[in-house]
């Protein structure tokens, strides 16, 4: 045995990745239920999704506040009673509000499902939006914001999105003390009434389902036209981009690090360049062996970590490079970022590196599809974006077959340093 020689490996292109299909049921009132079963464990995940994200709000923070406060008391029970009942069964009921959608996700042991569904029904269909609950929320969110505003990375994330999309666009709009102060129970209730309706609801279930899962869902969510029918328009909202590309902000005079952001617009996921850019982004800053990590962390030691990401927003995307670097080396970091962008434009990716990235990406997808909870996440992302498995398989095909020439061409098209916004917040 020679320890210098690597064992033989099976190459990524040989892995046959399949996305396990879902089963679809329709409740009596028309709500679609997407199911991926796996009986190996005794756990269940149930997610209810509504088009109730910040895209639809007329006043800042309405969507997030509505989503949060639905769980804090109904006409029948107080927040404490509801939370105690859920937590008594060891269950977790998490809520989240994003740009497009807002969600309620239940995680529980399968054996407790029957006791938990009526509680979920109450949270979804009968929230009270009590003034006192809102007042506590406003105060606590303002305090949290005050703490976050001292963090350079938090501040940098706000500014870079503002440059890319504009103050008034949901992608660039930020939370403010004023916005929290302006929230009213009536406007929350109105937003709720319009968006959390039976005809806007989709349900995704994964894991070990009780035998009577669908009848139970029908009983609690399929029997009536709860909250009535509400037709939602999804207006296209124009982005307003900043003219000035270079920004330096001092947030904390004693800061020992700066948050660096280098970002540009990029087309959304429906554009044919999107899956290709997922590969180029991985090479640039999407994994530990990336160009940015190898240079700026592993060679120069300027930072604990540097990453680039492609936003998964629906209307338009962006490529964003982000790091926290030593205060004295922020400018040197930006210089190195530009060097790496230019290198991708000037030199084709070596065959070895491209092959490594293909294998890494495929290996990661294989790991990400391990288990029903993960599989339903993929499906959810496809279904909510009006896509199907062909999109998924096309992305795999691109990873397996994209050439160094295509990637260089893509870099020349999208990685020109002068087209990037750059920001340092100290």
């Amino acid at each position: 045995m020679n320890r210098k020689n690597a064992p033989a490996i099976k190459d990524a292109v040989e892995f046959d990745i399949t996305l396990k299909p879902y089963e679809k049921f329709t409740l009596d009132n028309g709500i679609p239920v997407y199911v991926v079963k796996s009986d190996e464990q005794d756990t269940l995940q149930l997610e209810m999704i509504f088009p109730a994200g910040s895209w639809y709000e007329q006043e800042s923070q309405i969507a997030a506040a509505t989503n949060f406060l639905m769980k804090n008391g109904s006409s029948q029970h107080s927040a404490l009673q509801i939370n105690e009942s859920i937590e008594y069964f060891g269950a977790y009921l998490n809520r989240n509000s994003f740009h497009e959608n807002a969600t309620y996700t239940l995680h529980c042991l399968t054996k407790h499902t029957a006791q938990l569904l009526p509680l979920l029904q109450e949270v979804i269909q009968d929230p009270a939006f009590a003034g006192e609950e809102l007042a506590i929320y406003q105060q606590n969110m303002k305090q949290r914001l005050a703490v976050n505003l001292q963090k350079c990375d938090f501040v940098a994330n706000r500014y870079i999105d503002k440059y890319l999309f504009g103050d008034f666009h949901p992608y660039g709009r930020v939370s403010t003390m004023m916005a929290y102060d302006a929230l009213q129970p009536e406007s929350l209730h109105a937003f709720y009434q319009k968006h959390y309706t039976y005809n806007n609801c989709k349900i995704f279930v994964a894991g070990h389902l009780p035998d009577d899962m669908i009848p139970m869902l029908n009983k609690y969510f399929g029997a009536t036209k709860w909250n009535g029918e509400s037709a939602l328009l999804r207006p296209e909202l124009p982005i307003q981009i900043a003219d000035e590309k270079r920004h330096r902000i001092f947030n904390d005079e004693n800061g020992v690090q700066g948050a660096v952001r280098v970002a540009r617009h990029f087309p959304n996921r429906y554009h044919p360049d999107f899956p290709k850019m997922l590969v180029l982004n991985t090479i640039l800053g999407g994994y530990f062996g990336s160009r940015l990590m190898s240079n700026i962390r592993e060679d120069k030691g300027y930072t604990y970590g540097i990453h680039s990401q492609l936003y998964n927003f629906r209307q338009t995307s962006a490529l964003n490079i982000q790091t926290e670097a030593g205060r004295d080396v922020c400018e040197a970091t930006i210089e190195e970022i530009y060097k790496e962008l230019a290198r991708l434009q000037q030199e084709p990716i070596p065959a070895e590196e491209l092959s490594l990235v293909r294998n890494y990406m495929i290996g990661t997808i294989l790991g990400d599809l391990d288990g029903a909870f993960q599989v339903i996440q993929r499906w959810k992302s496809l279904i909510l974006n009006d896509l199907d498995e062909n999109y998924f398989y096309n992305n795999i095909r691109v990873i397996k077959t994209i050439t160094a020439e295509e990637l260089q061409h893509l870099a020349q098209q999208y990685l020109t340093p002068s087209e990037f916004y750059e920001l340092v917040v100290i």
Partner: protein, 414 residues
């Protein structure tokens, strides 16, 4: 019930195999029995710095990450006050790559000057990012020093001060490696779509010829019982006053640990927990309040921390916490409340076990505690806790003499 097989190589390396043929993936987890509690007081942060150096190339393989990524794998590592854990996840077909990489760095590192040079800088940036450049980031540094007089838990895993990391030398690195990173101090777990026969052969092939090393005798100074309350006032450039209270609890393998763990859940677990309900929702004294502990192997700290609502006086906030603790000391909790926190543990354990990686991590951790089999009986330790145990432990733990309090004042206003 997590099934596994266990065997030991001639050099003392303990190997655990957890077969799961429902996944296409495999995990290789290597745990080394060394953490920041094993450091010298003048050279803190070393175990963690060393974790970074483990990725700087080994004696026969110049780069750890590249061949792994080529095999479709991902990896990471973490260091705690008690242990250092490395893990790899990759398509099961390529598991031998993980054996090759992990065995070579157990055999010997490359010990390059450049790697040490760069990783010193990287760790210093990590230190700044998490503990200096964040509001309240220094609180654990201060709390550990306040709460421990003797035990090495008095410094953070990242290190007591930057200078300790700055002055680490290559000689220190080598000595550390050959003392701690030996088969006799390690636990290997292979999990996923693998067979025990296959793992036996691979472990023998790649790890069998590594010199055993010497089992070191851990001699950690014992923390004497605390006999008087410790208090510290801090003023810093933060927007809100904050209050931190820590109480010494029990070692991880003490029977009483489980009651202490449930006490922390009664006070701080979920939105129906006592502290959140009374102090955030009813009295509106805190904008958030938490109760937690780190589950350390030696006796750790049960922590209550919260940010005060603007305008609330520190004295009043502390008094209100004290009232909640007194309730636990005076009145036995209802059975339903105890059942709730037990149900939460049951559920938490079930969700943890869903991930192959967690199962592999946990098997190694329980083996470190003496026997991987403990993983399968862990919930029973919680089930046997009674309301009387909770009552008794609340009286022991929340003794004023056992308390460490930091009053963290904002020196400017929002």
């Amino acid at each position: 019930m997590i099934h596994y097989n266990k065997f030991t190589l001639a050099n003392g390396l303990r190997v655990i195999v957890h077969e799961d043929h429902t996944t296409p993936m495999a995990v290789l987890n290597v745990l080394y029995d060394v953490g920041s509690r094993d450091e010298e007081p003048e050279r803190t942060g070393f175990a963690h710095l060393f974790e970074h150096l483990m990725f700087g190339g080994s004696v026969n393989i110049p780069d750890y990450d590249e061949p792994l990524q080529m095999a479709g794998g991902e990896n990471n590592a973490f260091t705690t006050s008690d242990l250092t854990n490395y893990y790899v996840q990759l398509p099961a077909e390529n598991i031998e790559t993980a054996f090759w990489l992990e065995s070579d760095r157990m055999l010997s590192l490359a010990f390059g000057e450049k790697s040490l040079d760069v990783q010193r800088k990287v760790v210093i940036e990590e230190f700044k990012e998490h503990y200096i450049n964040k509001p309240y980031g220094d609180v654990w540094h201060k709390m550990r020093q306040l709460a421990y007089s003797t035990h090495p838990y008095r410094w953070m895993t990242i290190g007591k001060e930057l200078s300790h990391i700055e002055t680490a030398s290559l000689a220190d690195v080598k000595a550390f490696f050959f003392k701690y990173y030996r088969p006799v101090n390690a636990i290997l777990v292979a999990a996923g779509k693998v067979t025990t026969e296959q793992v036996k052969a691979l472990a023998e092939k790649w790890f069998g010829d590594i010199p055993a090393g010497e089992k070191y005798q851990r001699q950690i100074p014992v923390e004497p019982p605390q006999t008087a309350a410790h208090k510290l006032e801090v003023k810093a450039n933060v927007p809100l006053d904050a209050l931190y209270k820590c109480y010494h609890i029990y070692p991880r393998q003490d029977k009483r640990y489980y009651a202490a763990d449930l006490v922390s859940d009664i006070l701080g677990g979920g939105s129906s927990s006592r502290l959140h309900q009374v102090l955030v929702k009813e009295k509106k004294l805190f904008s958030n309040i938490e109760c937690y502990h780190f589950g350390t192997l030696d006796a750790g700290l049960l922590t209550i921390e919260g940010k005060l609502v603007k305008g609330v006086k520190m004295k009043d906030a502390e008094k209100a916490i004290q009232e909640e603790l007194s309730k636990l000391q005076q009145t036995v909790i209802p059975e339903r409340e105890l059942q709730k926190v037990k149900n939460r543990v049951e559920s938490l354990l079930a969700f943890e076990d869903m991930s192959l990686l967690n199962r592999a991590n946990n098997l190694a951790f329980y083996e470190l505690m003496g026997d991987a089999a403990l993983m399968n009986t862990e919930f029973e330790n919680y089930e046997t806790v009674t309301t009387e145990d909770i009552h008794r432990e609340a009286n022991i733990i929340f003794n004023e003499k056992n308390s460490n309090t930091i009053y963290y004042y904002a020196d400017n206003q929002i």
